[in-house]
Subunit: 410 residues, 2 copies
């Protein structure tokens, strides 16, 4: 194992913002008190970063692929495979993953409740066992429960094609027949329909549902796939960047992306992917992980959550908690390490959704050139010596900062 | 029709410049008084923009294609089709457009005057009628008069190829035989030569020329094509960017580019494309147009004209008139709109022609982050939070600023 200098990338989800009138046309980052993040800005080198490209509005999946050094325009095949990988279901290239809902249907396959009375563990785990390993039209179906009423379905076998429509009607309506969008996808669509039919056949009479009906609960008597996506054929992270890496994240989708890229997923006690997450635990877990790894990607979701609610004041509070987390990272940073603070995208509180604005970026290592930037925020960072960079360039830059880059030429 | 937030891009043609000795090594923008442009710089976010790429010296056609979000390296096929579209002659992909001069020749086809005694309307309009609709070697020729002694020729039909040389000798010399530059262009070159022959046959005895000779004027007895270009197959602007758009411009070439991209062309009363243009009228026309459209591109030519003359003092005067126009736009800007001020290229007064220097860019909307830039000029803008951007990224950035961008990923 390489024992070279270490790299951490801290992705503060949805952190970047725009000028907010109620904050005197400052951004939440400009309005917050954040001595630790500002320490990194003062002692590091800053810039702004188009995570995917100028004006391009990233999803959390495409943005993390870019930050991990992959080109999302080439490798992104949809969210399904990452959701599957997020609950530990890894396919190989060519396998197709679907996000699924447990739902309640009547005998005419009319959906009565898309969430089967908000069924959850342990019932979903029991029901999944009855479906996992089914063979449908020559493909193998692997099924795993996810959060609440959700599950993931993985079809594997030769000749699959993800260009099929959803069985989930996305409404209280009749279960849809999956249709091929191209002729080559006919076998896949047929398999989806057969899987839905078999799921009803098996689940409707399942002891869990017999019990639920007796208790006055809605039965989860069908599993409805949507969002087909092929598992992408990614160059493993270690091979691509020469780093053994881990991911510390609370959100399942982010874990899934990192797992598909070949990072190890480390659970931080108390990390939830929610506002109640234990940020200190995440920082400490990341630092511990760096004792045996070269690279850690941290994702903290909280700023994105309050931004989607449009709440500038709560965003400032979250930033101040993120700053305490940055303080732990500052105190525990391994000697010679390089650390980057960034976001996967902006989520302006005025937009209440992702935007394509560039995100603030600060990279710190002991040898960082000091560019006079004094604050970690959208405006100050943009005046820094890193200028305007791209997400997919971040990892090569970080690898070079810790003197692990290969020479191109002689 | 979408009634989302609006976008204006104001292209101040040839505005950017270099340090001018007689201005104490300031640029004309640095030397001018321009409170309104500076207001946008103070309240918006600024940067500098390589309209095509660093060091690449744009034409007005390639630069406007880039600003409209198209890649000129892929789509640009020559100026001819845009000149044709500028006078209202739209071809389809595969048609070939030529710029033409009415000229005076003797019976040996020696050019006596390349501008036929500076003939103009209404004579050119009369002569064009005699040529429009001719069939030459199986192709249809559509002819339309343009400004002064100019006209445009459109050949349509199957198997055309623009790789042919000009019939116009570009000098007082013999009319050139158009030659194919590749074997596939032979039929096209033959058609050009046949068209020139027929134009002489028809025009030499035309009553307009009989009259001109009697009045002691040179006859316009031939039409000489040059600058063959295929009509490009552009993705319509509305489909590409999701915006219904219009163009307010005085110059025919700019109108042509916008028309080919699928923008509507709106005439502003008093807009001439010259120094005498009514800039207030242009601003008011653009604002009125935004009441029913999503997007307006404005082009004002004046700064480019004085720059080609090398006159720094007059450039400052033009800038001060442009600033008044910016004041009208400031007062009338629709709520939630985003506006960009830029140039299509620099035209340094010391060079008296276009240069490849980046142009100053300011983008303003209410939620713009305030980056401390206080003046709209080449130096101040370059220190702004937008950093160094590219022309083709401007429209995606603007679309995102008004929250109309699509998410890439989930």
């Amino acid at each position: 194992m390489d024992t070279g200098r270490k790299i951490i990338i801290v992705v503060m989800d949805g952190l970047g913002d725009r000028a907010v009138k109620e904050l005197g046309y400052r951004t939440p980052l400009q309005a917050a008190t954040k001595p630790n993040l500002d320490w990194f800005a003062r002692n590091g080198t800053s810039g702004c970063m188009d995570v995917i490209g100028p004006g391009i509005r990233p999803g959390s999946d495409t943005s993390h692929l870019a930050i991990l050094g992959y080109d999302p325009f080439t490798v992104y095949t949809g969210r399904g495979p990452f959701e599957a990988a997020g609950v530990g279901l890894m396919g190989k290239n060519g396998d197709i993953a679907f996000r699924c809902n447990f739902a309640t249907v009547d005998h005419k396959m009319d959906v009565l409740d898309r969430r089967a009375g908000r069924i959850k563990e342990p019932d979903t785990g029991e029901l999944v066992k009855a479906l996992d390993g089914l063979e449908v039209n020559g493909f193998e179906a692997v099924v795993k429960e996810a959060t609440e009423h959700r599950a993931v379905l993985l079809l594997s076998g030769s000749g699959l094609d993800p260009r099929v429509t959803d069985a989930d009607p996305h409404a209280v309506a009749k279960v849809q027949t999956s249709r091929p969008l191209v002729p080559e996808a006919k076998r896949t669509a047929d398999a989806v329909n057969e899987f839905v039919r078999r799921s009803y056949e098996i689940l409707d009479a399942h002891p869990v549902n017999v019990r639920r009906r007796m208790e006055g609960l809605l039965p989860a008597n069908v599993l409805l796939p949507r969002g087909a996506g092929t598992f992408p054929d990614l160059e493993p992270f270690r091979k691509k960047h020469g780093l053994a890496g881990s991911c510390v994240a609370g959100v399942s989708l982010i874990k899934g992306i990192c797992r598909v890229c070949g990072l190890d997923i480390v659970e931080a006690p108390g990390a939830t992917g929610g506002l109640d997450t234990d940020m200190a635990s995440k920082a400490n877990t990341a630092l511990r992980e760096l004792e045996r790894k070269d690279f850690v990607l941290m994702n903290v979701k909280a700023a994105d959550i309050v931004s989607h609610d449009g709440n500038a004041r709560r965003k400032i509070e979250v930033i101040e908690r993120l700053d305490s987390m940055a303080g732990i990272l500052k105190d525990g940073l391994p000697e010679g390490a390089a650390i980057a603070f960034c976001a996967d995208h902006c989520t302006p509180v005025t937009r209440m959704d992702h935007s394509g604005d560039p995100v603030p970026l600060t990279i710190y290592s002991e040898t960082s050139i000091k560019d006079g930037v004094k604050s970690y925020d959208e405006v100050s960072c943009a005046s820094g010596a890193l200028g305007r960079t791209r997400g997919k360039d971040l990892l090569p830059i970080m690898v070079d900062k810790v003197d692990r880059s290969k020479k191109f030429g002689a």
